[in-house]
């Protein structure tokens, strides 16, 4: 094996992949949230649709989006492989086991695989519902100042009138919150960024992020549903 594949297939190297893709997805979430917040403008979806148009046509963003798909896949596949091999490292399970942790959420840290699986399924549904329809060009078009764009807003607004879907969406945000609660600081720890002077800050930022971002995401469908 070459030195590089030796590195990448080592337990530490595999974790680096998780960490880097995870951090990338964490950044992406903010960008995505900024877009979603456009839904809250009471303008019939103009800002949101223009934003969506920008995101799907700008070449730099397009390139980034391919990286994003790769990142999601890599994070999911690597995560699944690690999950499987970690589970295999203990053949007989404990009859009684308590897992105490230090500075991280025990439930979240132990269940990253399950949480991640749910998130992955959510992403698939999510993509199918919004992204795929837009890509296939089956959406209605609207025109703003001579520019014709897909009316993605309409699809979203429709979806968010379904109370079941809103509940599903909110639950998934809770799952993401837990995933982030461990994942945020875990990514730094894996990168080796653990320092008695700075780690408390990283952990605090991580906790705030894990709560605020999913909360903001979850707020939008609830708000839109209640607005009718």
């Amino acid at each position: 094996m070459s030195w590089f594949s030796t590195f990448l297939t080592s337990s530490v190297g595999r974790k680096l992949v998780m960490s880097l893709t995870g951090l990338f997805l964490i950044i992406f979430l903010v960008v995505h949230l900024i877009g979603n917040l456009q839904l809250l403008f009471d303008d019939g979806g103009e800002k949101f649709n223009l934003y969506a148009k920008f995101m799907t046509t700008n070449p730099v963003i397009k390139l980034t989006s391919y990286l994003l798909y790769a990142g999601i896949l890599l994070h999911a596949i690597q995560g699944w492989l690690l999950w499987r091999s970690n589970a295999n490292a203990r053949e007989t399970k404990y009859a009684v086991k308590v897992t105490r942790t230090v500075n991280t959420n025990s439930f979240a840290s132990r269940n990253m695989g399950w949480l991640g699986t749910i998130i992955f399924i959510f992403i698939l549904i999510h993509l199918y519902q919004f992204w795929l329809q837009m890509k296939m060009g089956v959406l209605e078009m609207v025109t703003y100042e001579d520019v014709e764009v897909d009316n993605l807003y309409y699809v979203v607004a429709q979806a968010f009138q379904n109370p079941l879907y809103v509940v599903f969406y909110v639950i998934c945000m809770v799952v993401i919150a837990y995933h982030l609660l461990h994942g945020f600081q875990s990514a730094f720890q894996t990168l080796g960024l653990n320092h008695s002077k700075y780690s408390p800050l990283i952990r605090t930022v991580g906790r705030i992020y894990a709560v605020v971002v999913p909360l903001a995401f979850a707020f939008i469908p609830v708000y839109m549903y209640l607005q009718g």
């Binding site: 030796t6 974790k15 490292a89 009859a95 500075n103």
Partner: protein, 251 residues
């Protein structure tokens, strides 16, 4: 006090199962292992085979004792080995479940005894300073900053008991490995070989079949010597630097 014990028995006539024993007359001043001694004495009196459990110094330093008590490696008291745990932390009428340290890389030998030779092989892969006897310079010719020496010591305090592996939901040996890597690479004597050491020890650790670290930190919570996961972060740093940034390739 009276206790109900559910103890993992494996080997001989036991296929691998929790067996229930009643034990009366346990004194709160006994250590946990002395309580097991009393049980074994009773079993021998009844001509039954006593429970095999590993123990030696009974002072919390040799790292031999290894059992999971009510779901906690070394028992519920943090920073304490099973041999230093005393019965005053239990109540009359308690049911106590005792299992071996479980991991594929720590196969059960009998009852509560497991084979931790994998740890020896990780050390053999590079957990040393390559200096032959007689080659040393005067001890005071290498000054080491007090704080740095203390940091190295905190890592060196590892007793190699394997509670980190037992506690980790992934059965990862990262805390053990990182403690030795950190102890040596934090000192100038060991720094010389740090590039090779970190790669070799991680590779051996992986070959032994331990799981990967996912930063759950259960290891630190259960480590009887309270070794910090900061050393795992340090290992990661050292490993990246060595694998990606140095000339060293460990085949």
């Amino acid at each position: 006090m009276k206790l109900t014990l559910k103890i993992w028995r494996q080997g001989g006539k036991f296929k691998g199962e929790l067996v229930t024993y009643q034990l009366d007359n346990v004194s709160e001043h006994m250590s946990f292992l002395e309580m097991l001694d009393v049980l074994n004495e009773e079993l021998v009196q009844k001509k039954e085979e006593p429970v095999v459990f590993e123990h030696d110094c009974r002072e919390g330093i040799c790292g031999t004792c290894s059992m999971v008590i009510n779901g906690y490696p070394h028992g519920p008291m943090q920073g304490t080995t099973a041999c230093q745990l005393h019965m005053r932390h239990f109540k009359d009428g308690d049911t106590i479940t005792i299992e071996p340290f479980r991991a594929k890389s720590f196969p059960v030998l009998k009852d509560l005894a497991v084979d931790r030779a994998a740890f020896d092989r990780i050390i053999q892969a590079g957990g040393f300073v390559s200096v032959n006897t007689g080659q040393a310079q005067d001890a005071n010719s290498i000054p080491i900053e007090k704080e740095q020496a203390a940091e190295a010591f905190d890592a060196a305090a590892c007793i190699g008991c394997g509670a980190c592996v037992a506690a980790c939901p992934n059965s990862s040996a990262m805390l053990f490995t990182s403690a030795k890597v950190a102890h040596l690479s934090l000192m100038p004597q060991g720094e010389v070989e740090k590039q090779r050491r970190v790669q070799a020890m991680v590779r051996q650790m992986d070959e032994e079949g331990f799981g990967a670290c996912s930063n759950i930190t259960a290891c630190e919570a259960e480590c009887p010597k309270e070794i910090s996961v900061e050393y795992i972060a340090k290992l990661n740093r050292d490993y990246f630097a060595s694998s990606l940034g140095s000339e060293t390739k460990v085949k």
